[in-house]
Each structure stands twice: as structure tokens, then as C-alpha cells.
Symmetry: C2
């Protein structure tokens, strides 16, 4: 087990993310876009990660994570999301403020710290954006959820997550009171611009743009 740098960790996370999103091997270009580095830098790094046994790499063929690489990536995501819960639940940050801090905290290497933090937080299964937190073995809790936009008239449910994690979107959701746990019922689809009308918390009718409805995950009830 060699040492692994922060930078290498970030590449593993990027590869994991791409694989999850695109459901195939990550290309050099995809990684370079995800990391905001040049394709040449990515190629260099892929060679290094491959030598360390963290990825499967064949020239021109894209890469996948080895079992070990995958484990490290999941552990990073675990740490990132646990720290986000800490920042929001204990230090009262809001969900749009915590990403950059968690991005740093996820690189802290101290396995016992992670386990104790998990316990201190009450073994949360989801982070402040509704994303699942892998357990110590790397397993995610799955949840049936669908974008608000894909619900049918009359369907009811609860806001459980977001697709877009941008500050702008999260702050906008706060304004609309569309926070995690909010109850929504789909009232109407407007074909013209694909906007939707919802009933929020059984009280208030509201119209949401297609963009908002697309990026909001609902668990139907």
C-alpha cells in the first residue's frame, strides 16, 4: 500500500463520478473536463494511477477503477458527505455553503476519525443535499426517487434530493421553501414551457420552471 496524494485521490473521485454518470469507462477528455486540467496531464496521471494498481488503463481505451481504486473513491465520498452533515447539523452552515470545505476535509486521513464522526452524527444515511452516504464498507443506501418533472398529476411526495448542486440552485430552493422534507403534490403540467404547478406542504400553490422541476428529486408517497 503506497501513499496516495490528494491529487491522485481527486482523480479517483472524478473517475468514479464519470463512471457513475455515464455508466462506462472514463475517457481522458471526460476526466480532463471534470478536473479542469489538460488532457496531457490526465494521461500522465493515468499512467501513475495504473502503476499503483488503482485503475485499469489501456492506451486510447479509457479507464475503470480497480477494486482498490473503487474502495478509495467510495471512502472519499463517505468522508465528504459525513463532513457535510457535520457542517450543517452541528455548525449550522446552510446546504449551499459546505461543498468547498468538505472538499478539503475529505482528504483527512484518519479512519478512526471517520467512524467516530459517523457515530457522533447518528449514522446519517444521506447528506444535506439528499445524496446517500456510503457505509464503512462502501455501500450506498438506495431510494426510489424521481425528478419532480416526471411525476403525474395528483402524485404526492417529499423533496429528498437535488440533481444540480450549484449554490445558485440551492439558494433559490431555500427562497421557494423547497427544502429537504417539504411535501409536494403535482397539480398541473403546462405544456407550453413544461413548467409545473405544485401544492407545497398542502397549503400553497406554486409554479416551477422546467429547470427547477428537472433538478428536484421527489420520493413518492
Amino acid at each position: 500500500m503506497e501513499n496516495i496524494s490528494h491529487t491522485e485521490e481527486n482523480y479517483l473521485k472524478a473517475i468514479f463520478k464519470i463512471a457513475e454518470r455515464e455508466e462506462k469507462a472514463a475517457s481522458t477528455n471526460a476526466i480532463s473536463a471534470e478536473m479542469s486540467t489538460s488532457a496531457a496531464s490526465v494521461t500522465d496521471m493515468l499512467k501513475r494511477l495504473s502503476e499503483k494498481g488503482l485503475i485499469h488503463y489501456e492506451k486510447y481505451k479509457g479507464v475503470t477503477l480497480t477494486a482498490n481504486g473503487d474502495k478509495i473513491a467510495r471512502h472519499l465520498i463517505r468522508k465528504h458527505r459525513l463532513w457535510e452533515v457535520f457542517l450543517v447539523d452541528k455548525l449550522d452552515f446552510s446546504w449551499d455553503e459546505v461543498h468547498d470545505m468538505a472538499e478539503q476535509l475529505e482528504h483527512i486521513q484518519a479512519p478512526e476519525l471517520v467512524e467516530r464522526l459517523d457515530a457522533f452524527l447518528g449514522f446519517p444515511k444521506f447528506d444535506p443535499h439528499g445524496d446517500p452516504i456510503p457505509d464503512a464498507k462502501g455501500n450506498f443506501t438506495f431510494r426510489k426517487q424521481s425528478p419532480l418533472l416526471e411525476m403525474s398529476i395528483g402524485d404526492q411526495g417529499v423533496v429528498v434530493g437535488v440533481q444540480d448542486h450549484s449554490t445558485a440552485f440551492l439558494q433559490y430552493l431555500d427562497r421557494l421553501r423547497l427544502v429537504l422534507g417539504a411535501k409536494v403534490q403535482l397539480v398541473e403540467h403546462f405544456e407550453y414551457d413544461e413548467s409545473v404547478k405544485i401544492l407545497l406542504n398542502g397549503e400553497q400553490e406554486q409554479i416551477l420552471s422546467k429547470k427547477v422541476a428537472q433538478n428536484l428529486f421527489i420520493q413518492k408517497s
Copy 2:
């Protein structure tokens, strides 16, 4: 305000520590010993830190921190000690386990996080080893304390800190129940080996070696 790397931060901390301990400009060799790097590496780094306006450096003359360098060093110490309090008070680590984790956590860059952590912990003035935590402006709380060895027969007081921060010493103190807050009265000095006899918490008489008595700070009452 340029970027400052973890490594540069560690050098600033080392220089601060040496200046505090030796009360004079830090020499290249002292820094090289403190950091476990070669003297040549130190010289290289001193040039860089000097260019960034963090230290006053003249060849062959040793270095001191500039106002800015000093501020950064104190902030690092603040972060280190606050994180130690977090680890002990909230995550139930013991005082001999937290150093390495705090060594990583002190490099997290997020000023608001530090202030919120401070508040969450109840604005502690001392860390789990009894070392003072600088406030947001970098000021330490001073406390009148003396090594147990320098107390006079009959003097009473409370354990408030340690000089030696090694795991071995801290674990030994746990065994002897000489934790922070313990009440001690000096009963006798043995000239032969400079060991001392104390009365611990008004109950138990105990003999302590010179080495222990030297490294334990007491606040007299």
C-alpha cells in the same frame, strides 16, 4: 496575498515554535531539526518565504516572522488546538491520540469554519493538553504555572498542562491519574534523585520521578 502551501505553513509553525522556545531568531539548523529536512531544503524554503513576505531573512543570520507570517502561524496554532478540543470533547478521543489528526486538520482553509467550531466548542481557552488557544486575533490567554519540580514543600495546586507532549508521557499520566484538573500538594523533595512525593486529590501519596515532575505544569492555589 498569494497562496500558501501546507509545507510553507509547516515551516512558519516551526519558526514560531523555535522563536517561542529559544526566544531568538530561528537558525537554519534549528528549523531543519524541527522539520526533519536537510539544511539545504530549509535554505531554499527560507528564500521562498522571504519573497512572499512571511519572514525576515538575511543570509547566515537566521530568520524571524513578519507580522503576516506571525499571524498565519498563530492562526494555525488556533486551528490545531480547536480541532484537538473537538476530537477529545466531541469524538471522545484521548489526549494522546489527537496530535496527528489535528496536524492535518489545521491546514483546512475556511475562516468561517474555525469561528463556528470555536463557538460550537464553547470558546475554549485551553486545549486538551492545557496549551492556550489563541483567540481570533491571535492572542493567547496567559496563566501563571510552574513545573511541579519547582514547587516548594506544602504548595498546593492543580494540574493544568504538560511540557512533554509525547504519547508515552500522556499515557503514563493517565495511568497515574495525573490528568488535567487533578489536585496535587507537594509533600517532599528527595535530593538523591530529585524525585518528589505528592498528595494526589487529597487522598493518595505518590512518588514521581524528576522527569515526570519536570514535565507537569501546576497552577498553584
